[in-house]
Symmetry: C3
Subunit: 326 residues, 3 copies
């Protein structure tokens, strides 16, 4: 919205760049949106908020020091991967003083990897998106098995063969036949689906995120809502784990996919909205597949199902006579 853009420009440059970095997690290069996201992160938990702050500052400073594109830095593009690195490592690893140093190094690496992927993808005009965050966090999380001074937290899935995943949970197909009793379940799952993009298992955080997105773009907010709806409905229909669906863990990837395809990177139309829906559905299957593929190594998918699906659809869209990138 107009007023949000004006307010964004009124904020002193260093703070604006950092806040935009937070906003870019949901493709919003606006400091007001970023501020709402940051407040939401602190609402979700002080440690998560601090870790995100350290991450976004470290990755943005790295980009300045290493001399990467100032335009990209100003847009907050060198901030959102760091924003995600911080809370991710504090969620999955044991909280120790050394972990703060570890987060700083991971944030630095995320900016190096982002610059590298931007370079690789230049000929194709395709965004690197959150892939630097995912690749860096995978490396830093799985490395701790070799180090005595850092430890896996209880949330990080233990390494093992994927069959162990099946049958541990109640499938959610029951939801379909008892819509009345489950209205609250749906409400919780849908909002948490948005909150989990930044690792928050919290309804209020999801609502704040959605508000922040709506300030930047209505279409963006609608796509986010459709994404979380797909990310709850499709796994219910397929009979996925009720527990994972309730926590929004199938929804945060379709949220990002539908925002990327239906709003950010292709020219908005009815056609791209349908394409976004198709991409959202396929993201769910991609997430289940990747989760089982990574199980032997003990890694979570993070946002890689979104990255993979978005890449496939954007590369494919550039071969179509129907769509053009924005």
């Amino acid at each position: 919205m107009q007023w949000a853009i004006k307010l964004d420009m009124a904020i002193p440059r260093p703070i604006r760049v950092i806040l935009r970095g937070v906003g870019q997690v949901f493709f919003c290069g606006n400091a007001i949106t970023g501020l709402i996201f940051l407040i939401a992160l602190y609402v979700g938990g002080i440690t998560a908020g601090l870790a995100a702050t350290v991450g976004v500052v470290a990755s943005t400073i790295t980009a300045y020091v290493l001399g990467f594109s100032e335009d990209d830095i100003d847009a907050g593009l060198y901030g959102f991967n760091g924003t995600l690195v911080g809370p991710c490592l504090f969620l999955f690893l044991e909280n120790t003083p050394l972990l703060w140093v570890y987060v700083v190094f991971a944030s630095i690496l995320s900016s190096v990897v982002l610059a590298a992927l931007i370079r690789i993808l230049i000929p194709y005009k395709i965004p690197a998106s959150t892939s630097p965050f995912v690749l860096t966090c995978w490396m830093f999380m799985i490395a701790v098995y070799s180090f005595d001074s850092l430890t896996r937290g209880p949330v990080l899935p233990a390494p093992g063969i994927p069959e162990a995943i099946a049958g541990t949970d109640l499938p959610a197909t029951a939801w379909l036949s008892m819509a009345n009793e489950t209205t609250e379940l749906w409400y919780v799952a849908l909002t948490k689906g948005i909150a989990e993009v930044m690792f928050a298992d919290n309804v209020l955080v999801g609502i704040l995120f959605l508000t922040g997105i709506a300030i930047t773009s209505w279409r963006g907010a609608v796509m986010a809502l459709c994404g979380t709806f797909v990310g709850v409905t499709v796994p219910v229909l397929l009979g996925a784990s009720q527990n994972l669906i309730e926590m929004g863990l199938y929804a945060f990837n379709p949220v990002l996919t539908m925002m990327a395809i239906g709003w950010v990177f292709l020219k908005p139309s009815a056609g791209t909205a349908l394409l976004a829906l198709l991409a959202g559905i396929l993201t769910v299957i991609c997430q289940a597949g990747l989760a089982n593929f990574l199980a032997p190594a003990g890694l979570p998918t993070l946002t890689f199902p979104f990255v993979l699906t978005m890449w496939m659809f954007l590369f494919a869209a550039s071969m179509s006579k129907h769509w053009s990138s924005q």
Copy 2:
């Protein structure tokens, strides 16, 4: 052959495009060849034939609807990945009504992934080949561990560490010292090696496939025969599992590699025939390696050993002063 090309053009366009899609599984953009392949698929099993039909139709329609290159669609290039997706999912997953929906979505995704890979590979003039089929089927097969409404079939290898693979079977080195008794074994292994490209464990299907290829190109048929010979001989020499060799499961990848290198993508000559032989031998080792690498996740190699080896040899050939692409 001339008459096959004429007959191909006489078939109504929609049917021609679909049949060419089936033919392209063995690089044959000819509807008559495709018709023979499709008949062979139904000979192998009604379900496999139906699944292939659903797959090729769904993936081809997807390409039309999403607006991809009409020339490519007409040549059947948006059909062969779908042709393979169908029988693959019906072989490895439990046959349920929902599986037909699953096959349709996988076939749709295979066309999106193909367009994406064509775009990525444009600067290099390298074909995507069956990689979209492999990537899509891996994702869709391993995803079912998370869903209650779809189940792994008995043929899909259970996830586990690769050492489990060793020692479960009689090694085939004995074949070498008793050529007389094993003439029939060789005959069966060689024909099944061609049939297994489309998941058929059936001698007659292999002979029909070879006939279909010969109609399009003699050199193609010779390369297919050499490929299956390499795919039986080399694993016998290395002492691989007799059971797998007999079923042709080491041969279908070298068949495709030798056809691609020795006939389709490089200018035919004595030199490229030798290069194809080298590529065929290395495909066998690549297949054994990839099979063990994928074992912890419980995935079969499908045709990825062929794709990897072909890519390496085609990229390398473009750096050579000897060969040029066709």
Copy 3:
């Protein structure tokens, strides 16, 4: 140094090309340096020396026969991957006569993969480095589980879930509080860190390698020393396995990373020296992460942590206004 360059040119061409191939393992396109490396390899063990000789000859001849760039062949670029393939397969697999044939095929493939990767990386002006050696050896090592005539040696890690790695060894953090008693440990670890680039667990070999590098470039030797220092210090601080650190198994990757970033591929300056230090530190974490990621398949990292880190930093450097490639 000047005299080394003159001597290099005085050696007959075929021998010069082969020796340069050995020298290129440490980025030294000089036959005298290569000769010192080769002598060091034989000092480390006759089999390793012979295997390296077979590998470098086979991969170089392959490049000639397949018609790849003569300039690249003359610089020894088609030799160093073969040089590494030979000792690698003889270290990790059981020594049998058939293994020599296996090494020849792997060396041939390494040259094909190198040409392919050179082609892929041309638009980016990024070197393939030792990635063909790593990819080829991974494939050939893990393939043996399927073959009766080749066997895993005792050094190759058995497939299993990564947690098994943790807790098997004394962490090395104790070193920090007892600097006196550990002077010899440090000396051994630092020299072996250089020797392990070519799989030698031997102090003298490390010293010979360092001498060979110094003959070509002082800056190269300094970077190698800094790299092995980082590769011992950082894992000690993080509490990695004392046993692995003592054998130099955390150090050979940072050695190569720091030489690549701080000497070979970027214009030498104080800035690139600091960048090399950062890259060296991150290589250690990358190595730990990759080791645990590969554990389920039973594969060692080889030099892939170096390759990955170097690629990220070189791609990123090409996006920076500070650095330019040499």
